[in-house]
């Protein structure tokens, strides 16, 4: 869509603009001793009447797209709109797990690139995202899942991703608190061990991208709900927001759970159903759990944060909804399943629970790329696995916007696949309990 860097002219008002200091140990001492305020990490701007690119959704996908547009392609006249605050949706509600041990070659290649970007993200953004690659265990409790783990391990190895199937003894060695005995209700037969998997501080990823994009001239508009998208002659003309209208030729839908509503505004039909996914966190305890534990049979995943809390996630709620209320059934089932794995946690208390909205697709793979309306791009259908794809989605969507060509990495994820039937069946590795 932009074949040269002429679109890179920065027309922004930069009156009170102070480029953020590069965070360093020296700065820490200087600001700490002087007691003066740190410069703002990103800034509020007036809404311009036009932008080259408007990104709807200020989560990790939207902000990463804006950041890579500016950094890799010199397109800085970009607005990121969010109806609330940045990172307030799925980016701040996920369980912060990063991995690439998927089932389809397309999925493995795509998520592996994301893991690689996450590995250098703190240095690239000069913002500590606290990525800890502690290893990721997907447990198999029956022959069927053990077969799937072997299948995933072989596909992973073929794509150069570190994964292997290990037995109960090795699991016990990695997680001594796990009940790997045959007495368990669902005895553990083995696990897919994925050493590069890890957890990260998800807010820091959002803030890091926001700060990086802002420093390159991107406008981040919070509390700017999109009310409509103007389409004429099959092309995007502009966006109507709560704070005024914007003329633009490119709109990117990065709104996850709400993506159907934004696509509806452009008249684009989506194969998406929105389901809530609940998660919970316990009181903090001393570190005892190093890897991330996932059990599809028990519909649960567990990790311990740097602060010592246990973070639990589950499968999506049993029916489609935009409601983010928690439910007692969820907490009861979750607690029962966690105790199946680690009975010694019986006295731990749950501090809080929450829900996020997941945009589920029929094949559990995302939808990325062009839509039938020219200039309307989608980066949606992220279901329960959107956060871990944030960096690579931003990178590939930015390349698509800048060059007009769909990068090879995301060719398989086009919206057209629901017309021509070439689905990317990722159900066996994308989520638990579906």
């Amino acid at each position: 869509m932009f074949n040269n860097r002429n679109g890179a002219k920065n027309r922004h008002h930069v009156n009170d603009y102070r480029k953020p200091a590069r965070y360093s140990a020296l700065d820490l001492i200087r600001y700490g001793l002087s007691g003066s305020d740190w410069p703002r990490a990103w800034h509020a701007h007036d809404l311009q009447s036009s932008y080259d690119v408007v990104i709807v959704g200020g989560g990790v996908h939207g902000l990463a797209t804006a950041y890579y547009l500016a950094k890799n392609h010199g397109i800085m006249d970009v607005a990121v709109l969010d109806k609330g605050y940045i990172g307030g949706g799925g980016s701040g509600r996920n369980t912060a797990i990063i991995r690439s041990n998927y089932l389809t070659p397309e999925g493995v290649r795509f998520y592996d690139r994301s893991v690689k970007l996450y590995e250098t993200l703190s240095a690239d953004l000069n913002f500590n995202a606290m990525f800890a690659q502690r290893g990721h265990l997907t447990l198999a409790h029956n022959d069927g899942s053990l077969r799937t783990m072997h299948w995933r391990a072989e596909v992973n190895k073929l794509e150069g991703v570190d994964s292997e199937v290990i037995g109960p003894d090795e699991i016990k060695w990695l997680v001594p608190y796990m009940d790997t005995s045959e007495r368990a209700r669902y005895p553990i037969l083995g696990a897919l061990f994925h050493p590069p998997g890890g957890i990260i501080r998800h807010d820091a990823v959002v803030w890091g991208y926001a700060r990086g994009a802002d420093a390159l001239g991107v406008h981040i508009h919070q509390n700017t709900e999109v009310l409509g998208i103007d389409v004429a002659d099959g092309r995007v003309r502009g966006v109507r927001t709560k704070r005024g209208n914007i003329a633009t030729r490119v709109v990117v839908n990065c709104t996850a759970g709400w993506s159907t509503l934004i696509s509806d505004m452009a008249g684009v039909k989506m194969p998406i159903s929105t389901f809530p996914l609940q998660a919970a966190v316990t009181e903090p305890v001393r570190p005892f759990l190093d890897p991330i534990i996932v059990s599809g049979t028990l519909h649960v995943y567990v990790s311990q944060t740097d602060r010592g809390e246990l973070v639990f996630g589950a499968s999506v709620d049993p029916f489609a909804s935009y409601s983010m209320r928690g439910s007692l059934e969820f907490t009861e089932d979750l607690a029962a399943h966690v105790l199946e794995l680690m009975p010694s946690l019986a006295k731990m208390r749950v501090l809080r629970q929450w829900a996020g909205l997941c945009d589920m697709t029929p094949d559990f793979a995302p939808i990325m790329g062009a839509a039938p309306v020219v200039g309307f791009l989608v980066d949606v259908g992220w279901g329960t696995y959107g956060f871990k794809a944030g960096p690579v989605s931003g990178e590939t969507m930015a390349e698509l916007i800048a060059t007009g060509k769909t990068p090879k990495l995301i060719e398989a994820f086009s919206l057209d696949r629901f017309v021509d039937g070439s689905l990317v069946g990722e159900k066996g590795a994308a989520a638990v309990g579906h």
Binding site: M270, S273, F319, A320, S321, Y322, S323, V419
Partner: protein, 108 residues
Amino acid sequence: MILLPCPYCGPRNASEFRYVGELATRPDPNATGVEEWRAFLYMRANPAGWTTETWFHRAGCRQHFVVERHTVTNEVRASRLPAAKFRDREDERATGGNVADDSGGAIY
């Protein structure tokens, strides 16, 4: 979780049911093209508001029935058997269905 009004069994916890999905008319497989058929298979309205959907009472009467539910508040307005006309209140009473009241309906 929410209570759902089963036309046979009355209000029951949603965990007794299986969510089937949005009510959609299946095109005639012999007369329809690939595009239309796949649109029926995959495309969803997914509204944030009132929607009409099918549920299955798997831990009760094991019948399918149709519910009008608000997807943001999870308020349920009416339920009926699949064959009954949705707004035909006499039908709903006859089958023991939950009937909407004009004040906006109960929150289950």
